[in-house]
Every structure is written in structure tokens, then in C-alpha cells.
Symmetry: C2
Subunit: 216 residues, 2 copies
DNA sequence: TAGATTGTTAATCGATTAACAATC
DNA sequence: TAGATTGTTAATCGATTAACAATC
């Protein structure tokens, strides 16, 4: 109803959490949800939920709440989840294989369409029905939207550069190193050791303090 | 030099990144680093680096920079990384196994001392030299400091409750569900699908926008 | 001393939250 | 109408950043 404002980064980080909760609500046949319920289920506060949802436009009904299906539709659309986004996984070590085997990715609209490595012993074999290609074969023709890097840190920047050259618009990096990518490419990193170190801080400074780690 | 202020959450999230960079500097025999260099290597801005480090106390030397070794010592100490923290991994699916095989955890002071599952076919077998025990065997006597949850979402809250009962002070959750834990237990969650959805937003709203996802 | 770089202040910006009028 | 709940405002809080005096 209002002129569209830019959605704040903090809100973008939370939209997928709301979406997951809404999916659960649909599974349990709820058709309507209040900001209070949604906040409980998402581990947040109702005022924040209403503020976040207000950036999508005004879709709630006073005295009633939000329509679950319509909200899912709106969030899905805002997140750009309308069509499938092909994913390439580079580096088929333990983690890369685990992700390649993760059926949930395809279900959620992120089908793994390419697996890449430089190890001659791995190239040609397949994981979950997808054949591993040599990294050199990576090309813009592959139509890959998102690259996932699960290589050792030493080669991660080179891999990122190749993914960018191949036209990916986003990279999810699991290598423990700071990557540099052009402005137009979105980047988030996940580092398990780093998470454990942050947890170590709060565990030793006894005062809880965290809630949900993401990427950046 | 100043009275100790509480370290802001945003700063705590960055200390492990600085630590990683300082480790690299040590490996390349640098003994001193300026806030400008550190910022470049960590993908940040020098003012932020100086502000962050100022919460540790005043350890830089004007006109010179920071002593790499001393800074590592200080960050290590603040993060509570002085002694090893035993880690238990619950749920030995693809991801749990990948983490159990990750040698980097032990190197960084987080040795995996327990593997737990409820599948009778897995209990008794071992991964990376650690035997998988039944979840029911989990006990406070195990001396586990941190629990990592890599189970399906349906059982994750129950697992979290058991870990809390066993005395863990921190939990790293990979299950796609919002967990509830007592105040005194630190919690962070990593959800790959959620990261991809956030990336999808920035990729489709062409304007980059992210930098380093963590947990919360 | 001249040059470099810190530590800190203060301004700015963005995120959170409580409160409540609007309204279903 | 009475009750419930949204959408929005405004206050507050925390994080970022530029600027510069302090000082090695």
C-alpha cells in the first residue's frame, strides 16, 4: 500500500526463517497466523515481525492476522525463488559430497546441476547422479546461477574468480578465507571453526548472547 | 588501559576473522601489522578494526601498528580458546560424517570426542577413530563443552534438550529448525538453504549487498 | 624532527522495540 | 459493538565511520 522502500539487510536475513515457519504452518493446515504466533515460532518478537512484513507491503488483516499462503507467496517472490537456480559445487571433498547428496537443495529450488574438481581421480565419477567435471570445463554456457565453494582455502579465490567469469550471480563460500568478488556478485561465507570460536566466547563469558548464525 | 567494557556482539563476530588473518601473517613471518593492512586482509575498514581492537585494551603502538603475536594471544584469550573444548557431533549422516572427518577442528582446539546417533546400524562403527555411541549414552561425565547437531529437524529439539542436560555450554545447530535453549547455553545455527535464499534475494535484486554469513 | 599510525570522539546510520491509533 | 490485531510512529539502542589529537 505504501511506496516500496528498500528492504533492510536485517530483514532479508529473516525472511527465509519466516518462510520455513510458514511452510510448517501450511503442513499443519493453518491458514492464518498472527504476528505473535509467527514471532514465537521464529524465535523473535512480534513488533519485529510486523515491521519486517510491512516492507513487503501491507498484507495483514487487522483483528485477524496474516494469510499463510499469501505470505508464503509474497516472501517467495521477494526472495526471487520463483524459478529454479542452478547450483555448482566446486571441491568434492567430504563437505562438497555431503552437500551434493543433500536432496533438500533441489526441493527448495536449488538443484545441483554441476560438480567440479581438479582431481583426476574424481573427474568422471558421479555423486547423486551428477558427473564430476574438471574445473577447467566451467563455462558461462552452463547456466549456473550460484556457486558453492568447498575447496581448500589456498585455491578458493581462484575458484571464485572462475565462477564469476562463468557468470554466477552469487557465491556461498565454505573455505576459511576472505574472498573478494565484484560488486554485482553476492557473497556469503560459512565457516564452522569461526562459529565454534564465537560460541567459545559466549560459553566462557557465561551470558548466552547469540541466536542464529548466517553468512555475509 | 581503559576500564573493561563489554565487547559488542558485532565485534565478537569479527574477532575470529582477525585471528585467522593474524595466523596467516605469522605463517608469512610478519611481526607487526597496521589497522590498514589488517582491514584489507579481513575485508573491512581500518576504523572498524581499530575500534574492535580497542575493546581488547590498547595494544597498538602509534606510528608502528600492532604486534602480531601479542594480538593473537589477546584474541585467543578473549575468545576462551586457551584450553581445548571437547565437541560432540549428534547425527552421523552425510554432514555429520563430513564434520567428524574434518581434521581442522582438532587443530583449532575443538577435538571431536564423541559421536552420537540412534541408528543401531551406525552405533559401534567408527569415524575418524571415534566410535559412534547411542544417543542414550550421553552423560554429563563425558565432559563435552560444545554440541553440534546434524540430525533431521524433527528430532533436533530433543537432541538439544539432551545436550543441555549433559551440561554443554554451547550448541551449533545445522538442522533447519528454530531451537530453544536455556539462557546460559549459547546457540548458533547454520542453514545452507537459508543462505542460498538470502543470496537469491541479492542476486535477483542486483546490488550485491552481503559479505560473511555466520550463525546466531 | 618529520612521518606514521593509533585510540577516541562525535556524527551518522541502521536496527529494535514499545506503544497505540486505525480498523477489521 | 467489543475484541483482536495490524501498521506505523517515535524513542531507544547499537554499530559504523570519518576525523583528528595524541604520541610513538
Amino acid at each position: 500500500m505504501e511506496a516500496m522502500r528498500r528492504i533492510p539487510d536485517a530483514t532479508v536475513d529473516r525472511l527465509p526463517v519466516y518462510l520455513r515457519v510458514l511452510d510448517d504452518l501450511t503442513a499443519s493446515r493453518s491458514t492464518t497466523v498472527s504476528s505473535e504466533q509467527l514471532a514465537d515460532l521464529a524465535g523473535m518478537n512480534a513488533a519485529k515481525v510486523r515491521k519486517d512484513l510491512s516492507y513487503l507491503g501491507s498484507y495483514g488483516v487487522r483483528g485477524v492476522g496474516y494469510d499463510v499462503d499469501y505470505l508464503r507467496f509474497e516472501i517467495t517472490s521477494q526472495l526471487g525463488l520463483g524459478q529454479q537456480s542452478g547450483v555448482a559445487i566446486v571441491g568434492l571433498g567430504n563437505l562438497g559430497r555431503a552437500l551434493a547428496n543433500h536432496a533438500g537443495l533441489t526441493v527448495r529450488g536449488f538443484p545441483v546441476t554441476a560438480l567440479l574438481d581438479t582431481d583426476a581421480r574424481k573427474v568422471g565419477t558421479s555423486v547423486s547422479g551428477v558427473t564430476i567435471s574438471h574445473l577447467d570445463a566451467l563455462s558461462p554456457d552452463d547456466g549456473i546461477a550460484i556457486g558453492i565453494i568447498t575447496t581448500p582455502p589456498g585455491v578458493a579465490q581462484d575458484v571464485a574468480d572462475r565462477l564469476v567469469a562463468a557468470g554466477v550471480r552469487a557465491i556461498l563460500n565454505f573455505a576459511p578465507i576472505v574472498l573478494t568478488v565484484p560488486e554485482h556478485v553476492a557473497l556469503r561465507s560459512v565457516d564452522v571453526t569461526l562459529e565454534l570460536q564465537v560460541l567459545s566466547f559466549y560459553a566462557s563469558h557465561q551470558g548466552s548472547g547469540t541466536a542464529a548464525a548466517h553468512g555475509s
